[in-house]
């Protein structure tokens, strides 16, 4: 396995050297004074001539009569005249291999490094090289783990993406297929002269087109909020009439089901400063969900002031949400039912968009629900006007 390692030139530990002619005594003094000096290269006219290590020098000098015998001799006499020499362009692994291949009594920590022209560059420690090599190995293991993790993450994103596309196309195809079928039916009616059938079919075709448009709008809205391209335009307005209007729309959505739809507010006027269009969309999303998932009972749309914020809520007596499903409620396309067996139509985008919109208005959304009993969605919004006055 190849690992990324620093080139030899950058891990050269010492450029210290002496002339081969220097007396042994002087060299010994350097070793005595410089405690961290392990070895010195002998260099003449930039060319390495040998290597003297602290151990070898002290061993020679402290032998019987060693000092007397050698102190005045040139250091070259007792130096290793054939030290291991490597070029600075070589790989660290090669250098380590060469160092370890030397005869056992000749293995020592320092290697002489030369450039391409054979000139002395410095000394290199085998220890340092080994540390470098194990660091590189450790790094490569960490990097490999990171890469695997990233690949897994990407795979997950890809899976979500294709699931997203599969869901979108399925949801888009249903109304498109209805439109195609209804248009065909009208064509047949016209050909046969059954003009009285056309009216009914036309209104079905119209409602299919409207539902198709709603799905497309949802998808575009989601991509807009996710790309941060949705603009917020705040204005002063009264929340109460807006709630009334949303309740009216909800009643239409509930249709013939035995569901009562009502507003509950503390005051008849609830002045607020926020983005009216987005707040309306939030409320419509929440109440249309309530209408979709409630077969009987009650849907209540309410609002109350809480300090410098306004809390708007939608409660219903619908099918509710299982506790384990609450977590993924606001994620795109995760309508909690399995698509193959799901009972309720929809892209599963509504709550994702609603949460994004609430965030855009500086608010947040929370949910309490008990399965088979009903749900309560609460949006807490800052009232910009109140907050400005406080400031």
């Amino acid at each position: 396995m190849q690992h990324d390692m620093a080139p030899i030139a950058t891990i050269v530990t010492s450029g210290e050297h002496v002339s081969p002619g220097m007396r042994v005594k002087q060299v010994a003094e350097r070793f005595f004074q410089e405690k961290h000096l392990d070895a010195l290269a002998l260099v003449e006219e930039d060319m390495p001539m040998g290597l003297v290590t602290r151990n070898k020098l002290l061993f020679t000098l402290f032998r019987r009569f060693g000092f007397e015998l050698y102190e005045r001799k040139p250091i070259l006499d007792i130096a290793d005249k054939n030290p291991l020499i490597i070029r600075q362009g070589e790989r660290v692994e090669t250098a380590i291999d060469k160092a370890l291949a030397r005869p056992f009594d000749n293995i020592y920590d320092d290697i002489v490094v030369i450039d391409d022209d054979g000139r002395f560059v410095g000394l290199l420690s085998v220890k340092r090289m080994i540390i470098e090599q194990s660091n590189a190995l450790a790094n490569s293991i960490v990097q490999k783990e990171l890469a695997t993790e990233k690949a897994k993450e990407l795979e997950k994103i890809n899976k979500v993406k294709s699931q997203f596309i599969a869901n979108v196309t399925h949801e888009l195809r249903a109304p498109v297929n209805a439109i195609i079928g209804l248009a065909e039916m009208m064509k047949i009616s016209c050909e046969k002269g059954y003009i009285e059938q056309v009216g009914d079919r036309l209104s079905l075709l119209f409602s299919s087109a409207v539902s198709l448009r709603a799905i497309i709008t949802n998808i575009l809205d989601l991509s807009k909020v996710e790309a941060g391209k949705m603009e917020v335009i705040c204005e002063d307005f009264d929340l109460a009439p807006l709630l009334d209007e949303v309740v009216e729309t909800t009643r239409i959505l509930v249709g013939k089901k035995p569901v009562k739809v009502d507003v509950s507010v503390q005051d008849t006027h609830l002045p607020i400063n926020t983005d009216r269009v987005k707040l309306r969309q939030i409320l419509i999303n929440l109440t249309s969900n309530a209408a979709k998932f409630t077969d009987s009972g009650m849907i209540t749309l309410g609002a109350k002031r809480a300090g410098d914020r306004i809390e708007v809520y939608v409660s219903d007596t619908g099918i509710g949400i299982r506790e384990e499903d609450l977590e993924r409620l606001f994620l795109a396309f995760t309508q909690v039912e399995d698509a193959r067996t799901k009972r309720y139509e929809g892209t599963g985008l509504g709550l994702t968009i609603t949460k994004h919109l609430a965030g855009l208005l500086g608010g947040d959304i929370s949910v309490q629900s008990s399965f088979k009993k009903g749900s309560l969605f609460m949006v807490s919004l800052p009232d910009n006007k109140q907050q400005a006055e406080v400031r």
Binding site: A166, R173, I180, G181, M185, R340, T341, K342
Partner: protein
């Protein structure tokens, strides 16, 4: 006696049932519809249709699971079933192979609907 071929369409989407019934009736078939997976077995046993168009995504019981049941039962296994779906065509084809049904028809493809139904009931 009515010699028209009998077709049963099972789908939870009422608009789809309405349009499919109308279009196939116009082709001269006797078309029956059922708006959920549950109860399909019983209808099949009494009606003994010449072909079943089965939606794949339905509440409570998916079209694939229903097909598996129908193909196992002695009283219904002889009736040809085709998946009728808006899903991705590749995934429908995969389901056809997996469940061993007769074939598939993509929703929205009216020409395909007419042609394939004629082929499956042996009128072509």
């Amino acid at each position: 006696m009515d010699s028209r071929k009998k077709i049963l369409v099972v789908d939870d989407d009422e608009r789809l049932l309405l349009t499919t019934k109308d279009i196939l009736e116009n082709e001269g078939y006797e078309v029956h519809t059922h708006d959920q997976a549950l109860g399909t077995t019983g209808i099949l046993m009494t009606l003994q249709p010449d072909l079943v168009l089965l939606d794949m995504n339905m509440p409570a019981l998916s079209g694939e699971s229903l097909a598996r049941i129908l193909l196992l039962k002695v009283s219904t296994r002889g009736i040809p079933i085709v998946f009728y779906s808006s899903n991705d065509e590749d995934s429908i084809r995969e389901a056809v192979t997996k469940q061993g049904v007769t074939g598939y028809i993509c929703k929205g493809d009216l020409q395909g609907l007419r042609k394939k139904v004629a082929m499956y009931v042996g009128q072509e």
